[in-house]
Symmetry: C2
Subunit: 390 residues, 2 copies
């Protein structure tokens, strides 16, 4: 046996993820038209400003432009982010509170590496982004799932029941992948009070890791609660993948609360993790490009239009849908088993993911960051399959 045993197990449990990135499917025949709603790889192109900024950087090379940056990232880039955060949050962020990362996934991995000792527990709200358990395991942690309510809102009692003296962090992903839920201000404040109480009881300082990957993709004028003003032991993981539609470029950042007691140590630990995990520093060209693109975002109305078109149709067909408040996934209930339902959709050339993969069976995840045409053409298939189950 030459491969890592744990990796072999991981592959067995999730080899389908690779196929999704490859755009492959084992069920659909080659002749059939395919409507692929599996991957959050947006078909909406980056904002014009991104293309302009990239061209500007490419057209104006300067010495050392492609060399290593500081391990935390270029100071100008971090200052631009700190300035935006300070303005938005009313807190004194500086470059010292920001570290550039290889996307949101890079941010989460260095955060977990920086804080976890073997056996430390990390609480994750379910339904969950399916990679969290792997990220936690990479760094010796133990993933503890906490079920949210049937409508995906926070269940504070469930959360309280899972906190132990080994709890090192809670990961909150809002807007949530796969549900599109934005956890309310009130519920996050309840969570903060609970964590505060537990911290006092155990003499601990539980971190709140706030995965803000979809913070820019919100609908209906929804506002995201400001987590920094709710809980001071917050580590924020953000990404330019979604606002700029550039997930392949791997650029994001981690930011820590300026009032965090151990902010100096934590930033050092994040830098160390960025270094030894082999990231070294975030891709520098993209660091240059995004410096002047703070707050720039694709047209959210494009996504909202797709969401509404999709949700309206699915509801008409009899699907039970909680309309997502943000992100670009719909997470409808399935009549009966989600794996069976997913296979039935497959036969119609419709590729979605079973809720089971996200910790909740009886649902499917539909990524709607696709062309409108794809949605339109897929609708008869969605109807047909639902009709079969009713």
């Amino acid at each position: 046996m030459s491969i890592s045993i744990k990796v072999m197990e991981g592959i067995a449990a999730s080899s389908w993820v690779v196929k999704i990135f490859d755009g492959r499917s084992q069920f659909v025949s080659k002749e059939q038209e395919v409507y692929d709603f599996r991957l959050g790889n947006p078909k909406i192109e980056p904002p014009l400003k991104f293309a302009e900024e990239l061209k500007k950087v490419a057209d104006n090379p300067f010495p050392g432009m492609h060399g290593y940056s500081a391990l935390a990232g270029h100071v100008q880039t971090r200052e631009a982010i700190a300035k935006t955060l300070s303005k938005e949050r009313g807190l004194p962020f500086t470059a010292q509170h920001v570290i550039m990362t290889s996307g949101g996934a890079g941010a989460l991995n260095i955060i977990l590496k920086a804080i976890l000792n073997p056996g430390d527990e990390v609480i994750v709200l379910s339904p969950l982004y399916l990679e969290y358990p792997y990220y936690i395991d990479n760094h010796g942690g133990v993933c503890c799932l906490v079920e949210t309510n049937a409508d995906f809102t926070l269940n504070i009692n469930n959360l309280a029941a899972k906190i132990t003296p080994r709890t090192k962090a809670v990961i909150v992903n809002s807007p949530n992948n796969p549900t599109g839920m934005i956890y309310s201000d009130e519920s996050l404040k309840s969570m903060a009070r609970l964590l505060g109480d537990k911290n006092r009881q155990v003499g601990n300082d539980i971190f709140l890791i706030y995965d803000a990957a979809y913070q820019d993709i919100v609908y209906d004028g929804n506002k995201l609660p400001d987590i920094f003003n709710i809980y001071s032991n917050t580590i924020f993981a953000a990404s330019y993948s979604k606002p700029l539609s550039i997930p392949g470029e791997r650029i994001g950042y981690a930011a820590i609360h300026p009032a965090m007691k151990i902010s100096g140590e934590l930033i050092e630990a994040l830098i160390f993790a960025n270094r030894v995990l082999g990231y070294l520093s975030a891709p520098v060209l993209m660091q240059h490009v995004i410096t002047n693109l703070q707050g720039v975002c694709v047209d959210r109305a494009e996504y909202q239009e797709r969401r509404d078109m999709f949700c309206n149709a699915l509801q008409d067909f009899g699907y039970s849908v909680t309309r997502p408040m943000g992100a670009y996934y719909i997470f409808p209930e399935t009549p009966g088993d989600d794996l069976v339902f997913t296979q039935e959709l497959d036969k119609e050339g419709i590729l979605v993911l079973p809720g089971k993969s996200f910790g909740r069976s009886g649902y499917i995840r539909i990524a709607f960051c696709v062309k409108k045409e794809t949605i339109k053409k897929s609708l008869p298939g969605f109807k047909k399959v639902m009709d079969r189950f009713r």
Copy 2:
């Protein structure tokens, strides 16, 4: 205590690495001119062809250009690399044997993640690239150092003595950082025979991880032995950082021997590791850019000129220097303790690293990928310090 204990220890042991990336020093006064030879961050600009290709890609956006690639990387990019490898090595490489990575460091991390079980031993030849022990520890492995000879050539007896039933891999870095050594064809063949014998004895298949980061930076018409034709259980880690002078862009690849028995499983494991370590895939813009830049390299003569200028002067001053055959580091002996010698150089505004950091005390590492001017102006300081010790 809120930071990972192991990370705190790592920071304590190597916080100076961060300062190097930042260009900071604690010893030199602010008024003093500084000659910084600590970091392999080349001051030689990328080849013109790189700038042209980057401009071409930036000027011709196409749909999905900045989206995720397949987790292994774009097929065109991997095919271009496989074609070059096949031609150079006379072996049937295809895209299936290549995975794009976030630089050489990303390649090494996914390789180790893919193969290591907790407690597995990885042999590293010393002097060594100082990050290997951290990379091995990230994935639960145990780093076993094997001393090379006084002239940095392989010592097969030392190697043989360190192989145990737990040995999973040997990392060979050639040209070597920090010594510039290119391990000879003959010595690598001896190593391959030894590994073959041990494999047969233990029923194991020890991997040879060949870190080829500096494969393009070789001098005096030196030729690198072809490791693929020496040992078939080889995993190759390569990077565009050095040939294209773009270390900040984080682009490289891993390639596996086409005849490796478990090549299919191993590639799957590497893809899994790329995914769950949060790399997801290598930065896509750079994947596009390097596709047509196979074999393109900065002018090696520029480096060779610096090497000769530096080595000749140091030898004149009484330094004992083994002239590097490749890479861009000189590793001269110090009279007496290397930490003391390094501090004395510091006082002259000359920043180098002590050999201790690379596993061999009594030496210093000088990165000469700097401006010629910097070398010239530093020479009186090198002379002065050596004169003090003689």
